[in-house]
């Protein structure tokens, strides 16, 4: 547990279970803007699934729909066959944990306390039991601490358990966010850009961490901009462009798909309007020539971000979050 030694995945470690998370027909509209348009996605147990797409493609919005931060306009999300209620705490309770694109730790709490907060759904002790402090309370508290320290060992932060989380370096804050999510004993972990702002070494370490998490039997759904990271890691990759799922499949299929290349490298098709993203969305919403138009719009938008494979400019997604 203490050391993470995981080699490259072999094809033999392909999906080994039934569907864990099933999102079907998820649509998210903000007023006139449709950020996520009829997306289906399945994550099987034991799988690492990647979600990529240009900035503003709706990846984080889709994540927020999955975890109950947003109530999808249409569509359902089910976990282990049961429909998830659109309340974040109930989603976590059900077994879906997440991290955030822009780190959201409890910065004035210690590292250990952060992880203990993650244990919230797996413990029952209420106010009364905290006031009375019976033997059951002590047992549960000791168990929580033990488990939290195990997770910190696993993630490699055990020696910093008493530090304030705000004082950790950036890479360790990212790790701590993952540790906190793991503490809720999830069956599925959603990682929103876990390597944003990391150097290649740290990225590789994160890669190994994700494999180690998968080996514990936790399925992972990860948003990332770092293509090498994604293609090394994922059993399947889904591409989201302009709120729509363009392609889904293994790394090879996705890498060779022309539409994906177009979306990232930004080759405008003939007659593509050089307009703003919103106009493209509305056009697409109106429903004519759905795919080609959407690609074209995405192509023009992705031009600037085409080489942003590693360090993503968060502006688009931030905007989405604020809505």
């Amino acid at each position: 547990m203490t050391t993470i030694t995981k080699e490259q995945p072999t094809p033999a470690q392909a999906p080994d279970g039934g569907p864990l998370l099933q999102a079907s027909g998820v649509i998210m509209r903000f007023g006139g803007l449709t950020a996520v348009r009829d997306v289906d996605l399945t994550v099987n147990s034991g799988e690492i699934v990647g979600l990529i797409g240009p900035n503003g493609a709706g990846k984080t919005t889709f994540f927020n729909c999955l975890t109950g931060l947003y109530v999808p306009t249409e569509g359902t999300v089910s976990y282990r066959g049961e429909i998830l209620p659109p309340k974040p705490h109930l989603v976590t309770q059900a077994g879906v944990a997440r991290t955030f694109q822009n780190i959201r730790l409890f910065s004035n709490m210690t590292v250990l306390e952060n992880v203990l907060v993650g244990r919230h759904t797996r413990t029952r002790e209420g106010l009364l039991s905290a006031l009375i402090r019976g033997p059951r309370y002590h047992k549960a508290e000791a168990r929580s601490r033990e488990r939290a320290m195990e997770i910190l060992e696993f993630i490699g932060l055990a020696d910093k358990a008493d530090h304030l989380s705000r004082n950790l370096p950036y890479g360790e804050q990212r790790k701590l966010e993952i540790a906190r999510a793991l503490a809720s004993e999830p069956g599925l972990l959603l990682l929103d850009e876990p390597t944003a702002g990391m150097n290649p070494q740290e990225t590789r370490a994160t890669e190994e961490l994700v494999f180690a998490i998968r080996d514990q039997g936790i399925a992972v759904l990860v948003i990332e901009h770092d293509m090498r990271f994604i293609f090394n890691l994922c059993d399947r990759v889904a591409v989201l462009v302009q709120g729509e799922k363009l392609v889904e499949g293994t790394s090879d299929i996705v890498q060779q798909d022309e539409r994906v290349i177009a979306a990232y490298l930004g080759e405008p098709f003939e007659g593509a309007p050089a307009d703003e993203g919103d106009a493209a969305v509305e056009q697409a919403e109106a429903g004519f020539g759905a795919e080609a138009e959407a690609e074209a719009g995405a192509g023009t938008r992705a031009e600037a971000g085409a080489d942003a494979g590693i360090a993503a400019d968060d502006a688009g997604e931030e905007q989405e979050n604020d809505r």
């Binding site: 004035n108 209420g126 106010l127 905290a130």
Partner: protein, 629 residues
């Protein structure tokens, strides 16, 4: 051989180039032995002066005319002078006193000398000003003034650990437009470098002492704390209270500067429960340590105010919900207790609950109100919640004012309130009567003080146990980041409602006692802001000033906010202005409050062991100063 000078030159270059290096320099250039001599001469002169007569008449409060026996403010000068002498001898390395300066710095001597100087000169100036001229000073007064001046000069000439030299290219953006004016920048930089600096000096670990010595030290500290507290509460006139404040502030600052305070917090952390017990015993001994009912009354009111502030601390300090109408819950508890107290003015005048039932009634009433107010409003965040609670606080007062049988149903008698509330009787022990315990007579207020102390201990227990548990962690998580907290599985609304309801019921509990202590309840004290506690603004100020999220912080804050208007009568019209100013200054220079939260402390002292700020009332050892230095 040749490379040694090079290396030396290199290290020299490094030290001069490093602006953050520790700096030891006196403020006044004198040889060290001369400085020490001058300091000790000043100490001797100061102590001698307190045995002389300072003024001709007894018109100045405290009778400073007696030769051979210090009185009033002279006692303060004497104590401060003796302390300065002891700390100076310790810092100079006198065998047997070295433990007074565990970090081997002279900073504590300078601070104590400053305190001695300030309180003595304040006295001398007050004599001259109140009696009309320097002619009213006896030679003793002049000796004292000159002696403390000499002492101060000597202390200023001692080598002081000062703030490190600043980077010559540092830019001071906080100066705003002035940061482009070289003179202003130079002056500001000079002022910054003047500051003494001692927080990072190493001190020996006190826990290497034998266990019984450690316990003895804690016991002595509790006793001294009680003595100081009793003296301060019993100060009879404004001048002596001001002098007391000056001496205490500088003494605590000096304790912190010498490193003793840090050693002491190490001790209390090692013997937590023992320290808590001693603190409790000291608080318990308070009514036995003085025989004037008035001061026991002060004690009761401070405890009531402090308990309510602790309840508010759950809501504001732990959960981060800004509640501007909190005093209303105190009012609900007080009115509920008054209605079932058997008072002839209550609508149920025949009903007289025993105390435990009345306390539960008050708590339950506040709890119900807390849930009623919380359920719709806690879905709001930040400013909205503050506005709604502010509105609720005012609604409570206005409604209680109107339930007088004219504007509404007759429940509370409107502005006349419910009076003639009988005294409590617990197990046949009537709290209204005086009782003899041994040779000490416990009066009515002393009885209530003891009852209230018991309640305070219960509330402290509730607070610490709740704060250090699953629910407490979820409160703090919500304060830090509500979105992330809900994503971690915390039901934000439910957890916030629990905090709100718990805070409300603790205030209600304090309210039940306060109704009996004051004999009557009227609507007027339960307002948002006023010149005297309790009101919502003062409660909030007590929490913020004392230190959010700590136990001793709000109690200390409440004590200060209660005592200062009580003791400094002359402020009266300027009281709110002075509070506003004090709040602004504290928020600017010590935003974490007088007693910083353990988490805030960690922020500054990453590698130290956790030093919990958890001590009940009674021990006065409060790290007042380190950031102000």
């Amino acid at each position: 051989m040749t490379d040694i000078p090079v290396a030396a030159a290199e290290t020299a270059a490094v030290t001069t180039a490093k602006p953050s290096a520790r700096r030891i320099a006196p403020f006044v250039p004198l040889p060290l032995t001369a400085a020490r001599a001058v300091t000790l001469i000043g100490v001797v002169a100061t102590i001698a002066a307190t045995f002389m007569s300072w003024t001709y008449t007894t018109d100045f409060p405290g009778d400073l005319t007696v030769t051979g026996y210090p009185g009033g403010l002279q006692v303060l000068t004497l104590v401060s002078g003796i302390l300065t002498g002891l700390f100076a001898l310790g810092a100079f390395g006198l065998k047997g006193l070295r433990w007074l300066a565990p970090n081997h710095s002279h900073n504590a001597v300078l601070l104590l000398a400053l305190g001695t100087f300030a309180t003595t000169w304040y006295t001398v100036i007050a004599i001259a000003q109140e009696l009309g001229g320097l002619a009213n000073l006896d030679p003793g007064g002049f000796v004292a003034a000159v002696g403390t001046l000499v002492l101060l000069i000597g202390a200023l000439a001692l080598p002081i650990h000062r703030h490190p030299q600043e980077d010559p290219n540092a830019e001071y953006f906080e100066l705003g437009r002035l940061s482009t004016v070289p003179v202003a920048v130079a002056g500001y930089k000079w002022l910054r470098e003047l500051r003494p600096h001692h927080t990072d000096l190493p001190v020996p670990d006190p826990t290497r002492l034998p266990g019984w010595v450690q316990r003895l030290i804690i016991t002595l500290a509790a006793a001294v704390g009680l003595e100081v507290l009793t003296y301060g509460l019993a100060t009879g006139y404004t001048e002596i209270f001001l002098g007391f404040l000056i001496v205490v502030v500088f003494a605590i600052w000096a304790l912190s500067a010498s490193g003793l305070l840090r050693q002491f917090s190490g001790l209390t952390a090692a013997h937590r429960s023992f320290a808590n017990t001693m603190g409790f015993l000291a608080a318990l001994a308070y009514p036995f340590a003085q025989n004037d009912e008035h001061y026991a009354n002060l004690g009761v009111n401070i405890l009531i105010f402090g308990t309510v502030a602790l309840g508010l601390n759950i809501v504001v300090g732990l959960t981060g919900l800004l509640d501007l109408g909190y005093v209303a819950f105190l009012g609900v508890g007080a009115y509920a207790a008054a209605l079932v107290s058997g008072s002839p003015f209550s609508i149920w005048s025949g009903v007289q609950f025993p105390f435990w039932a009345a306390a539960l009634t008050g708590m339950a009433a506040s709890l119900v109100f807390g849930v009623l107010i919380g359920a719709p409003t806690l879905r709001l965040r930040g400013d909205y919640l503050a506005i709604v609670t502010l509105g609720f606080g005012e609604i409570f007062r206005i409604v209680v004012n109107s339930l007088d049988g004219v504007s509404g149903p007759k429940v509370t008698n409107g502005p006349n309130g419910i009076s003639q509330i009988p005294d409590l009787s617990i197990f046949g022990y009537n709290l209204g009567d005086s009782h003899d315990v041994g040779s000490v007579t416990l009066g009515r207020f002393a009885n209530y003080y003891l009852l209230m102390l018991l309640i305070t201990v219960i509330v402290v227990l509730i607070f610490t146990r709740a704060a250090d548990s699953r629910i407490g962690r979820s409160w703090v998580a919500i304060r830090e980041d509500e979105t992330a907290a809900t994503a971690m599985g915390i039901n934000g609304f439910r957890v916030k409602l629990i905090a709100f309801a718990l805070g409300a019921s603790l205030a209600g509990l304090a309210g039940t006692v306060s109704a009996h202590v004051t004999y009557n309840v009227v609507p007027s004290p339960y307002q948002f802001a006023g010149a005297a506690p309790p009101n919502s603004a003062f409660l909030l100020a007590a929490v913020v000033l004392g230190g959010m999220g700590t136990v001793s912080g709000p109690i200390l804050g409440a004590a200060l906010l209660y005592l200062i208007p009580e003791k400094l009568g002359f402020l009266q019209r300027y009281e709110l202005f002075a509070f506003g100013l004090a709040l602004v200054l504290i928020m600017r220079f010590r935003p974490e409050g007088i007693i910083p939260n353990r988490r805030r402390q960690l922020e500054f002292h990453e590698d130290e062991t956790l030093v919990p700020g958890k001590r009940p009332l009674g021990d006065d050892t409060v790290p007042v100063s380190s950031a102000g230095a």
